[in-house]
């Protein structure tokens, strides 16, 4: 059979990271090709190259044997490539029919022919077994039905390739059954599908072939009959732990951070304790509620019940400034939007949380500030030509160091690191690990949220695993395995 689609030697380099490294993956008509990998393994990047949102640094993309020379969202759509994302792209205030034909309306004499659109939309919906009137507004539909509308939309554009990105993450069980039924119908119509999912059991329900990506590399591709769940997990987690992690376990001291029965909209009844001298890892999938829990505990977002105690003192809700004064800090997942003022200098970013200590009368003491910032730059080995350099001109690793420097200067003792090394090259990674180890050696406490399995296993003393907004397990990192963690992480999705 002729290949429907083929990625040949696709490489994508972002500044500082190779997101995809020589990927060769193909797709046959009528096939469901499942792509799995940890967060950041390169799945989404690969699909964005397919949709034309990104341009590959090198390599080629073939559709039905023909090279797609210059891809773009318009080109891929015209070739019959449709993307169905986790967050649906429908306009809630318009009808199903209008959504399906959005951008390629059926016209008569220059006007949109609504009647024809509804008729055709109803046919499409019927083909995939959805019995809703196409005149219904999308906002009145559940998430599951909205997804069906997306599929009908893809069909209306004669889609030959459909990419499903985490399609089941917000569906109920019966909706999933329905979705799988439609996917099987699509197979019969020779539509080729890429299917990205974190739910490994789905592989065996719906997949024909599986490809595993890890750190931007293509690890394996095989038919589903040749694989077991353990093979897949091993492929995902895979690599041996290098000696990247300097952390030496020491006896833990008093509790410094206690999160007690914290419940909010995205997490419920989460309790965690971090003691002085401890690095505690929090593992789980994207959407497990880890970041949300951390943000609520620090006071960025609200929570419904429970309490947070830092060094014996209860934190008020929604007051990061108070949490900060008690010595707690949060290094956010997204440094650029949440951690730094990119248009301000390194100096201004580092001193911002220590203004009162540095300038007790409220008047800036420039020399004092410069000395302190100079010390941080030296001790953290922040690579820069000047402390007046704007943060936006720094690399990811250096930016992360600036965020850390800010918190060190403010004498924080309780650190929450959210994905501390995401998007950072290995060299900078190891120096951040070094730093974390020095911090806890000095009596600080660290809660480290990470989707990087080796980092979790390599740096933590203990590991909490969250799944579906709940704390599903606590492991001693001594003897914990990646498979054990992954099984827990998938247990409540």
């Amino acid at each position: 059979m002729e290949k429907l689609l083929e990625f040949r030697h696709i490489t994508k380099v972002f500044p500082g990271v190779t997101a995809l490294d020589d990927i060769n993956i193909d797709l046959y008509p009528g096939e469901v090709h499942i792509i799995v990998g940890e967060n950041g393994a390169g799945k989404s990047t690969l699909m964005k190259i397919l949709s034309g949102a990104y341009e590959a640094t090198s390599g080629e993309l073939y559709m039905e044997g023909k090279l797609i020379a210059k891809n773009s969202p318009q080109v891929s759509a015209s070739l019959g490539i449709s993307m169905i994302y986790q967050e649906l792209n429908l306009v809630p205030e318009l009808s199903i029919a209008s959504n399906i034909f959005l951008g390629h309306e059926l016209r008569r004499g220059g006007f949109v022919n609504k009647a024809a659109q509804e008729k055709r939309a109803n046919e499409l919906l019927k083909e995939i077994g959805v019995y809703v009137n196409a005149g219904t507004l999308v906002k009145q539909l559940g998430v599951g039905t909205q997804q069906m509308v997306e599929i009908a939309k893809a069909l209306s554009r004669q889609a030959k390739v459909i990419v499903f990105d985490e399609p089941t993450s917000s569906l109920t069980d019966s909706e999933i059954t329905e979705l799988f039924h439609i996917i099987r119908l699509l197979k019969e119509r020779n539509v080729g599908m890429f299917y990205i999912s974190h739910r490994l059991e789905e592989l065996f329900q719906i997949g024909d072939r599986v490809s595993v990506l890890r750190d931007g590399k293509h690890i394996l591709t095989d038919t589903i009959d040749h694989m077991t769940m353990d093979d897949v997990i091993e492929g995902i987690a895979g690599r041996k732990i290098e000696n990247l992690f300097p952390h030496v376990r020491k006896p833990a001291g008093d509790p410094m951070l206690e999160i007690r029965h914290l419940t909010g909209s995205k997490f419920s009844d989460v309790s965690m304790t971090v003691r002085a001298g401890e690095i505690v890892g929090v593992s789980g999938l994207v959407g497990a509620g880890r970041t949300e829990t951390a943000r609520a505990a620090f006071g960025i977002d609200k929570y419904e019940s429970g309490e947070v105690v830092v060094c014996g003192r209860k934190l008020p809700k929604r007051s990061p400034s108070r949490a900060n004064r008690l010595g707690m800090c949060l290094l956010p997942e997204d440094r650029k939007t949440e951690g730094l003022a990119l248009e301000l200098s390194i100096r201004e970013n580092i001193v911002v949380s220590s203004l009162k200590a540095l300038n007790p009368r409220g008047i800036v003491r420039a020399k004092n500030e410069a000395t302190e910032v100079g010390k941080s730059i030296n001790s953290l080995e922040i690579a820069t030509s000047s402390m007046e350099k704007l943060v936006r001109f720094l690399s990811g690793g250096t930016q992360q160091k600036v965020v850390i420097a800010k918190w060190l200067l403010s004498n924080s003792r309780v650190f929450i690191f959210d994905e501390p090394t995401r998007g950072i090259d290995v060299g900078a990674k190891s120096s951040i690990y070094q730093l974390m180890d020095e911090l806890v050696a000095g009596g600080a406490a660290i809660l480290m949220i990470s989707s990087d399995m080796t980092e979790i296993l390599g740096m933590s003393d203990r590991i909490y695993v969250m799944s579906g907004g709940k704390l599903v397990g606590e492991l001693d990192s001594e003897g914990a395995t990646q498979n054990e963690i992954l099984k827990l992480a998938f247990s409540n999705v």
Partner: protein, 339 residues
């Protein structure tokens, strides 16, 4: 290298460049008409009138720095001066300082209300202050009906009309002094205090500011209060100049204040701007008004030109700011490589 330095400097002076261009245009246009636009007495008048705009612009600049906007300043000026205006009159037994203090306080209270609506009720700044703009104007009219409080205390009016000294034909008047003081204070607060740091950081990235332990709500409320007090102060200066309090005061001031700040290099997105730019912005805005008058052009044409100029100025500012940042960065890096 040297060229880069010069270019970086130049890019940093976009407001000054606009000032020079505007002056050049009017000087040439007026000399064709046989009048001397840049004679000292004319410059003195321009700077004196621009001083009023400087004060308004400083308040607006503070708000813009945090990423907000205050549309209510003109109406606020009218409302607070009308409300306490009786005590500013010649005929009043009350010392005028009482009224001055009450007017400034009231300005602060209106600013506080703006700040609370924006931070606690989460109403976008544009809408919250837009509503305040109407409410204040309405209150002023209701309070005073069709009356005008005319003939104010002469010693109070010194602040708007007082003559200090003369250099040749150039008359230095009290408002100029007030404007310079206002700029100096704002510069000091923004550049030399913790409060200023927090204002810039909040405007540059509010989320990061919250993560860094800055109480961003408090920062924002503070700038709206400051904007209210400064507007009230500007109101005092305007009524002193007019020698009357009336509810129609400062109808154009809302937008003049924003124009001044934008031409002065501040951005709607916040976190960027140098307070001295406000002086340039004020001079440009008033120069156009006065220049068009000297050329005897209709007021509508003046609006048209202001509109075009805002677009031009904002475009130039954005473009140059970016280039300057890049150049300065290159210069720093090159310096290090040399060492």
């Amino acid at each position: 290298m040297n060229r880069k330095k010069i270019m970086a400097r130049l890019y940093g002076m976009s407001t000054l460049i606009i000032v020079v261009i505007v002056f050049l245009i009017f000087t040439v246009a007026c000399s064709a008409n046989g009048t001397n636009f840049i004679k000292p007495s004319n410059l003195s008048t321009i700077l004196n009138q621009a001083s009023f705009l400087v004060i308004l612009g400083v308040g607006q600049a503070l708000v813009l720095l945090t990423g907000g906007i205050d549309l209510s300043v003109g109406s606020l000026m009218a409302f607070v001066t009308v409300f306490w205006g009786e005590w500013l009159m010649k005929s009043s037994d009350m010392p005028f300082m009482v009224a001055v203090v009450l007017i400034l306080l009231s300005g602060g209270v209106v600013g506080l209300l703006n700040g609370l609506m924006i931070t606690k009720l989460k109403i976008p700044p544009f809408i919250a202050t837009f509503a305040t703009m109407y409410a204040c104007r309405g209150l002023g009219w209701i309070y005073l009906r069709n009356r005008v409080l005319y003939s104010l205390d002469e010693s109070f009016r010194w602040i708007s009309t007082g003559k200090l000294f003369k250099i040749d034909q150039f008359l230095v008047k009290a408002p100029m002094l007030v404007a310079v003081l206002c700029l100096l204070i704002a510069w000091y607060v923004l550049r030399k205090t913790n409060a200023g740091r927090k204002i810039y950081f909040t405007g540059s990235n509010e989320t990061a500011a919250r993560f860094s332990g800055i109480n961003t709500d408090r920062v924002k409320i503070a700038v709206y209060i400051a904007s209210g007090v400064i507007a009230a102060f500007a109101g005092l200066m305007y009524v002193g100049k007019l020698n009357a309090c009336e509810p129609g005061l400062g109808t154009d001031s809302n937008f003049e204040a924003i124009t001044v700040a934008l031409i002065g290099g501040f951005t709607m997105s916040g976190g960027y701007g140098n307070i001295w730019g406000v002086a340039g912005g004020a001079i440009v805005v008033y120069t156009i008004q006065s220049g068009m008058n000297s050329l005897k052009m209709p007021g509508q044409l003046h609006d048209l030109i202001s509109g075009a100029l805002i677009i031009l100025a904002v475009f130039i500012n954005q473009e140059l700011v970016n280039r300057r940042m890049r150049l300065e960065n290159d210069i720093r890096d090159e310096r290090v490589k040399k060492d």
